[in-house]
């Protein structure tokens, strides 16, 4: 089963359609003729899997799926007996207890994580399919989080049957346990929505009344109506202040108790003072009311905080997928009989033996007891190519077995595994994250202290001089200095820019990242999957003079068709239509395949393998190339004779060179840090124009290197994608995860790219710079206004109504200025 992150091609246009699988859009192999009549036309399929999936979809009467979909479907996989057995483990009581939510009677509920959803039509198809099963009571698929909630009757349908039916139409579903944290996120989000609704609806009503009051002040209004409107406004503002604004008060209070001053304090004081003085004016019938300013203030601030936390939660929703980094089930081999039985991976004990089939994820750390295979550790170490492992070698939980079945003795489980160690270093890195200097908070904190002092001084001065005027003057100073505009300056700019960035495909999880970005001096890139595509491409073929390139490629492809190794796939995809058929293909320990084509025996594999097994000698110039080479090579040989050498490289992303150059043009130092070999890293660094290149780094070494940079007063932006990058992403001053990144990396990055374009990194910098410019303009204006108006108010020159108007206008100016960011 495919466990790597699959990338699906665009839907091919009509002309290219014939050459591609109708279901998944992959190119059609030439030696296969599979087709199915869909919508009255003959459609070709690339494999048995797609054919079976398409048949299942058509048979259920869901061919509408093919009409409304906007993306290709994931490549189909046959419903293999292994999957059926694996899914049946979910029917055992012990495992069901973890995932099933028992409702009344036989009715129960389960949450499923879905994989392979490419467009909205997939959701429709999945809902239709599950709903048509007998015993299903309700099914709801959430497109945003790619989860399904299924309620069904346990007596009539087994959980494994639901999983299998989803698998049959080409998707993967796994039950998951909605974590406590997610539950509380959910509650928190609804709470925020309620507060926003209250602030919005009551706010609009208050604004409406205020307009009548303003108009009345202009053209004259009967005192009784005015009083009535004021009392109404008071009543309508009450829920806004008493309910919608509560989070500001509680957070300000919490900060005060911890002897910190945050932006919430001036915000709370502004709300409370404006509201209290308006209440006073209403009760006494004298002075001005500022209910409109209060509600506008609360609404805008709540909205900006809501959008920020939405973006964060949306990303955090992928946290549970992390569970999948380690599989849920393992095949335990019985110590006595040697029989394999599926058990929960969490139930494994050190010393037990497990069977790991090709395509499976290693369930725990261990040592190979028998078998040999290539292991893909790219997510853990950043090493792009699968590593060959033989008995006695160590296996890491979370790596993927690529080629052959293995028997592994478990040595470490749970908290002792390397995967758990990486998770712990993430937690440590987050705890050590450099404290964020929040400009607005700092300025506002000093400002508010100053203002309070001034108010007291002014009140005292006027009290001594002219006791009749002291309250009005002190009030005018308070209102004029109300840091509304100042408090709104940053949040409005940030929420406007978050919205814009989301449209551009940049998901900002921590808004503070925008403030940090402009200070960034060093940009650290990971290699595999970040600067490069993360999949090998056939780069070069060297042939012995007596062989033709095409012939060698065809022979090699015929052999490699029997392997699931990424290099094999890269080779097969380059082979032309000329098909040879290899027989008796077997894979040999030490990295190679051998097989027979037209009664001649061929071998393909590593240089050591070919020289040892086939007795072939390689021309010295090939060996020279191999030594200093950044590429990975395999050699094809017939008995005693080398034929060709194929060299693969992990291709650079199209925009990698431009992006690095653009960053350097901004004056940033670009650093490459990778877990891969030095030669490979050097070549990539040379191609991209990166001078500082560090290779063969463990996650811990990466953190140490970033810490060293930070100690030298550098501000570091980390761009990465693997699980091995996750600790660094958390520890760097700010970080960006690629679209195809592992979930652990996404969770720990401040910004997640939603498209797979590296050039987006430049856009992030652009937006951050624009946001900062707007924020500074806003702050500048707010400070100018406040400091200009305070002396005037202190001298008793400003009437409170004028102060209120000024406050509203300056807040409005700030909001309008921020909205320029969305253009």
């Amino acid at each position: 089963m495919e466990s790597t992150v699959a990338k699906y091609p665009e839907l091919p246009d009509a002309a290219a359609l014939d050459a591609c699988c109708f279901h998944c859009g992959l190119p059609l192999p030439a030696d296969l003729d599979l087709s199915l009549t869909i919508d009255g036309a003959e459609r070709s399929m690339c494999c048995q899997g797609c054919l079976a999936v398409a048949q299942a979809i058509i048979a259920a009467g869901h061919e509408n799926f093919y009409r409304v979909r906007t993306e290709s479907a994931p490549t189909g996989q046959l419903l293999v007996p292994e999957f059926i057995r694996d899914s049946e483990i979910y029917d055992t009581a012990a495992i069901q207890g973890q995932y099933l939510h028992q409702l009344d009677g036989d009715s129960c509920e389960v949450s499923l994580i879905l994989e392979g959803i490419t467009c909205a039509a997939c959701i429709w198809l999945i809902e239709q399919t599950i709903a048509s099963l007998p015993g299903v009571e309700q099914v709801r698929v959430n497109y945003a989080s790619q989860r399904a909630l299924v309620r069904w009757n346990r007596a009539r349908l087994k959980l494994s049957e639901i999983l299998q039916s989803i698998h049959r139409i080409g998707y993967r579903a796994l039950p998951y346990n909605p974590q406590q944290q997610q539950e509380s996120h959910h509650r928190q989000r609804r709470q925020q929505q309620r507060r926003l609704a209250v602030a919005g609806v009551f706010g609009m009503q208050v604004m409406m009344l205020s307009i009548s009051l303003y108009a009345g002040a202009w053209s004259g209004m009967e005192a009784s109506f005015m009083q009535f409107f004021r009392w109404l406004s008071l009543g309508l503002t009450l829920p806004v202040v008493g309910y919608a604004a509560l989070p500001f008060f509680t957070s300000a209070w919490r900060d005060l108790q911890q002897r910190r001053i945050s932006m919430d304090l001036p915000v709370s004081i502004a709300i409370l003072v404006a509201f209290a003085s308006s209440c006073l004016a209403t009760v006494s019938g004298q002075g001005e009311v500022y209910f409109d300013s209060v509600v506008m203030f609360v609404f805008f601030l709540s909205a900006s905080r809501y959008f920020e936390s939405m973006a964060r939660q949306r990303c955090a929703a992928s946290v549970e997928r992390l569970v999948q980094a380690l599989p849920l089930t393992a095949l335990r081999l019985d110590a006595v009989t040697g029989e394999a039985s599926a058990v929960a991976a969490s139930a494994l004990l050190p010393g037990e033996c497990v069977l790991i089939r090709p395509g499976d994820t290693v369930p725990a750390d261990g040592v190979i007891r028998s078998g040999f295979s290539a292991l893909d550790e790219s997510l853990l170490s950043g090493e792009a190519n699968p590593l060959d492992k033989v008995p006695g070698d160590r296996l890491l939980g979370g790596s993927i077995n690529v080629t052959n079945p293995l028997q592994m003795e478990v040595t470490a489980i749970g908290a002792d595994t390397v995967m758990a160690e990486i998770q712990r270093s993430i937690e440590r890195a987050q705890a050590d994250k450099p404290p964020l200097a929040r400009l607005a908070d700092r300025v506002a904190a000093r400002f508010i202290g100053l203002v309070l002092l001034i108010v007291v001084a002014v009140a005292a001065y006027w009290w001594l001089r002219d006791s009749a005027q002291w309250f009005e003057t002190a009030l005018a100073v308070l209102i004029v200095s109300c840091p509304c505009a100042l408090s709104l300056a940053t949040p409005t700019a940030i929420s406007a820019s978050l919205g814009k960035m989301q449209l551009l495909g940049l998901l900002v999880k921590r808004a503070s990242a925008l403030e940090t970005l402009h200070r960034v001096t060093h940009v650290v890139f990971d290699k595999t999957g970040t600067l490069t595509r993360g999949a090998p491409v056939l780069e070069q073929i060297r042939c012995m003079p007596s062989f033709a390139v095409d012939e060698c490629l065809a022979i090699a492809a015929a052999l490699e068709r029997h392997s699931a190794h990424p290099l094999a796939r890269a080779l097969v995809s380059k082979a032309d239509a000329r098909q040879l058929v290899a027989s008796e293909v077997s894979s040999v320990a030490g990295g190679g395949l051998q097989g027979t084509i037209d009664a001649r025996q061929y071998r393909i594999g590593s240089v050591e393998f070919v020289t040892r097994e086939a007795g072939a000698t390689l021309p010295p110039e090939w060996l020279d190339d191999l030594d200093g080479d950044a590429q990975t090579s395999v050699v094809l040989a017939e008995e005693g004779r080398a034929m060709a050498m194929f060299s693969f490289a992990d291709e650079l992303r199209d925009d990698a060179v431009d992006t690095v150059a653009a960053l350097q043009a901004r004056g940033k130092t670009v650093v490459l840090m990778t877990g891969d070999r030095l030669a490979v890293a050097r070549q990539v660094a040379r191609q991209c124009g990166i001078d500082d290149c560090r290779a063969e780094m463990t996650p811990q070494a990466k953190i140490a290197a970033v810490r060293a940079l930070q100690a030298a007063s550098a501000v570091v932006l980390m761009v990465g994608d693997g699980i091995n990058d996750a600790p660094v992403l958390a520890g760097a001053d700010t970080s960006i995860a690629m679209a195809g990144a592992s979930s652990l990396a996404k969770v720990n990055a401040d910004i997640v790219l939603m498209s797979d374009h590296l050039a987006s990194v430049g856009e992030v910098f652009d937006m951050a710079a624009r946001t900062r410019r707007i924020t500074r303009q806003n702050m500048g204006w707010a400070l100018l206004y406040n400091f200009g108006a305070i002396p005037a108010a202190a001298m008793g020159l400003v009437a409170p109504w004028l102060a209120a108007l000024g406050m509203s206008l300056s807040s409005l100016l700030v909001v309008v200025n921020a909205l320029r960011l969305t253009r």
Partner: protein
């Protein structure tokens, strides 16, 4: 202008209704998935039923 003493209470009733509807919408999860329904509406089950009927006629 005394009519305002009647109109405003009516508008307040309306306001109460709006708030209640919004709170109900939040509680029943109307805002939980802001993307799916936009697509879902384009793919109604009815189309499939129609399709089946067409085939039955043929």
């Amino acid at each position: 202008m005394e009519i305002i003493y009647l109109l405003i209470p009516i508008s307040l009733l309306l306001l109460g209704l709006i708030v209640w509807i919004l709170l109900w919408a939040v509680r029943s999860g109307q805002y939980d998935d802001m993307e799916g329904p936009a697509h879902r509406i384009l793919m109604d089950e009815d189309q499939v039923v129609e399709r089946d009927d067409e085939q039955a006629k043929k």
